[in-house]
């Protein structure tokens, strides 16, 4: 009976997951998507290969190895070359500098700024390359830490010697076992709208005008699970929430309630030609849409350059545009910020929408985008790239942006144009709240927000909705399907197990040593217990028997 119990135990133990890796690291996969049927990104999720430290390791079979590349040592052109030549590779693992990890807060602020800038440039180049190529092997990102650094040092040392991996010299095997990536079925985008009604005088039958403040909140980047977009467009979302909070205080009192309705829109689908903004605008009531006096879109206002740009699609001579720009530049002068005006005509036949306000302009609504960027980005770029993390966003810049927008809106609403009145002065009850901005910014910097991987019921969307509901009278949430040319694939996050493994040669050698040990033991025992002659006869007997039988 006991033996059957033991057998049962053994069967159970054999089924136990073998999770005893030396190191387990969180890794984030390169995005995989189809654009109008054409495949892009990393097409494979599973990984089970040995590690090497550079693409030029000549003695290794690269199609069966993973190349680990820290961003600091990255040479983008060599990778571009390699991908361009379509050579086989087991996989790629990029190590991101720890400073980019928004989760860890004890970063040294005095990190060498220029060096960081170089890394950022490299990351931007790398991301552009990876996003627009079709890569038939797994590509992962991970943050540097002590374990993975130790592994990399070992691997580098081996590569330098040029020896194949063995147990004694430290061969490493990287294993990521996930299910193959599946298509995300019908990716949805969610727009959140808040409505703060203005004061309507009795007997005034005309509809009062509306001002819209809009920010797109979703992101897109090389690694969907890392695409937090602190600046693009976390900063815009934070600014919008703070502006909503400030005006909700003003509008809660009938005496200070303005004669304008305020419409707040948190739109999704920004990276995809502002698809969500388009759908949101189309779904708005015709009368409401026509009542919109102008719309201000907030985009990437978190970088600390003393320059902001007002992007418009109507010519600057237009009276409305002139008015908006004058409001902004007046206040900018007081805040010692430079605001420039940039005009870019829209081309209706071109599906590409570079700025969010262009969706408004297409529907003949006056709109402008306030942005820290001086020129539009390329398609799918600059929406929460890898380098767009909390470290590179300044709260002061957002604070300034909030003040700029809120103050200009207030002067427009209350008719104080041209007068030097500070409504949101510091130390007043209407002052901009830095801790509110900081807390929302840190939440946004921790939450990846790539729309297809953000389900309708995601707590983050719930949180945005709740926050907007607190500051506005009416909140509505709109779910839409993302337009069909995109297909996304899941498994954006996985765990990498790093095993130190022995080579086959080593195992063979061990077998040889053990075999000879047993033979020596056998001979020793035979000689001591039966004598040498017995041992010799042991080897002689079989042939003699054969002779007898024949």
């Amino acid at each position: 009976m006991l033996s059957s119990v033991i057998a049962l135990c053994l069967v159970v133990l054999a089924c136990v997951e073998l999770g005893d890796a030396a190191t387990a690291v969180d890794v984030y996969r390169l995005i995989q998507y189809d654009l109008a049927g054409a495949p892009f990104g990393s097409r494979v999720a599973n990984l089970n290969h040995h590690a090497v430290s550079s693409l030029s390791a000549s003695n290794a079979d690269l199609s069966r190895t993973v190349v680990i590349i820290p961003i600091a040592d990255l040479d983008v052109s060599s990778i571009e070359d390699y991908i361009g030549r379509k050579q086989p590779l087991g996989g790629l693992l990029f190590l991101l500098p720890r400073i980019l990890n928004s989760g860890n807060r004890e970063n040294k602020q005095d990190a060498d700024q220029s060096e960081q800038e170089i890394k950022r440039d490299k990351l931007v180049l790398l991301e552009r390359l990876l996003l627009h190529s079709n890569i038939p092997y797994p590509v992962y990102f991970a943050y540097e830490d002590e374990h993975i650094k130790a592994v990399l040092d070992d691997v580098k040392r081996n590569d330098a010697i040029g020896q194949p991996a063995t147990a004694t010299t430290g061969g490493y095997k990287l294993v990521i076992s996930t299910s193959e990536a599946r298509k995300v079925s019908s990716p949805s985008i969610t727009n959140i709208q808040g409505w703060l009604p203005g004061l309507k005088l009795d007997g005034d039958s005309n509809q009062i005008p509306t001002i819209a403040i809009v920010a797109s909140y979703d992101t897109f980047g090389a690694a969907p699970a890392l695409s937090v977009g602190s600046d693009s467009n976390g900063s815009g979302v934070v600014a919008l929430l703070e502006i909503a909070r400030l005006f909700s205080i003003l509008y809660s009192n009938p005496k200070t309630r303005g004669r304008y309705n305020l419409l707040f829109g948190l739109t999704s689908g920004g990276p995809y030609n502002y698809n969500g903004t388009q759908k949101w605008l189309r779904s708005l009531d015709q009368r409401l849409r026509e009542s919109i006096d102008y719309a201000i879109c907030l985009n990437s206002i978190g970088s600390l350059d003393n320059e902001l740009w007002l992007h418009v699609s109507k010519p600057p001579e237009n009276a409305y545009i002139k008015q908006i720009f004058k409001d902004f530049s007046d206040i900018a002068g007081e805040l010692r910020v430079k605001v420039g005006l940039k005009h870019k005509k829209i081309n209706i036949s071109n599906p590409r929408v570079a700025w969010e306000h262009e969706q408004f302009s297409r529907l003949r609504v006056t709109a402008a985008t306030l942005s820290g960027l001086s020129s539009p980005s390329e398609f799918l770029e600059n929406f929460g790239s890898l380098s767009d993390s909390r470290q590179f966003v300044s709260e002061t810049a957002i604070l300034r942006g909030v003040k700029l927008v809120a103050e200009s809106l207030a002067r427009h609403i209350y008719g104080h144009e041209g007068k030097n009145i500070q409504i949101f002065a510091e130390n007043s009850s209407l002052a901009v709240n830095p801790s509110y901005i900081a807390s929302w910014l840190s939440l946004l910097s921790r939450t990846p927000r790539v729309a297809p991987f953000l389900p309708k019921t995601d707590p983050f969307i719930g949180a945005l909705r709740k926050e907007l509901a607190e500051h506005t009278a009416e909140v509505s949430v709109q779910h839409e399907n993302l337009d069909g040319i995109f297909t996304f694939y899941d498994s954006t996050k996985a765990t990498l197990n790093i095993y130190q493994v022995a080579s086959v040669t080593f195992d063979l050698l061990l077998l040889l040593v053990l075999g000879s040990y047993l033979i020596v033991l056998f001979s020793f025992l035979v000689i001591t217990t039966r004598g040498l002659d017995d041992l010799i006869s042991l080897f002689r007997r079989p042939p003699s028997r054969k002779v007898k039988t024949t």
Partner: protein, 228 residues
């Protein structure tokens, strides 16, 4: 590859038992039955030991060496000796000489011990991708344990089965048997009290087992002489 490593470790752990059985006259006298019976006695003893440990021992949270607890553990360890005594004296064996009897008993005892304590960790651990020396060392430990078990059985057979042994040797026999029986406690002390690493402990065990094997062999030979 990993299956290969598992096989290597299994060979190291269990191979010597088979080699011992086939190389010595044990195989010629068909002592397999004795070994199997001993293995069953070992299983029962292990069960009794477990019950005792569970009853008397506190669960220690720390990895520290607690002398009182260790003393208790060592005394429970003497249950092993009782089991061995039972296997040597009470089991009815087909008429095989004392010489072969203690070897068969020791072999069965060590084999059961290896299977019970080492097979499962080996199966789970050595098949993993990660390479460690741990299972090779564990195999070496099994070898040392085999030598110790046979030595203990030899000393036991001297103590309980042989009547006419030289009076001067009796205290030495008992001393040696005591040392061998407390070997698990000694290694546990080295590992936890002194902070020795596994390779050092295994080295010590191998060395100790060789020394004890030599001593018990000499004792056995010394007791053999007057009977002839």
């Amino acid at each position: 590859m990993t299956m290969f490593h598992f096989l290597n470790c299994a060979i190291l752990t269990f191979g010597p038992h088979f080699v011992y059985y086939s190389a010595t006259p044990l195989s010629e006298y068909d002592t397999l039955g004795t070994s199997i019976k001993t293995a069953i006695v070992y299983l029962v003893t292990a069960l009794v030991k477990l019950v005792c440990l569970a009853t008397f021992l506190k669960v220690s949270d720390s990895e520290n060496f607690d002398p009182y607890q260790e003393l208790l553990k060592a005394s429970i360890g003497f249950v092993d000796v009782a089991g061995l005594y039972f296997a040597l004296t009470q089991l009815t064996h087909r008429n095989i000489s004392q010489n072969h009897k203690f070897q068969a008993v020791g072999l069965g005892w060590a084999f059961a011990d290896s299977v019970l304590h080492r097979l499962a960790p080996l199966w789970v651990g050595a098949r993993g991708l990660e390479f460690t020396w741990e299972y090779v060392l564990q195999g070496l430990e099994a070898n040392a344990n085999l030598v110790l078990c046979i030595s203990l059985a030899a000393l036991g057979s001297l103590m309980w089965l042989r009547k006419n042994k030289p009076k001067t040797l009796i205290p030495i026999i008992y001393l040696c048997a005591g040392i061998v029986a407390t070997m698990p406690s000694i290694t546990s002390y080295l590992r936890r009290g002194m902070g020795w690493k596994l390779p050092e402990v295994v080295g010590f065990q191998l060395l100790a087992s060789l020394v004890i094997a030599f001593i018990s062999w000499q004792l056995f030979a010394a007791c053999q002489r007057p009977s002839f």
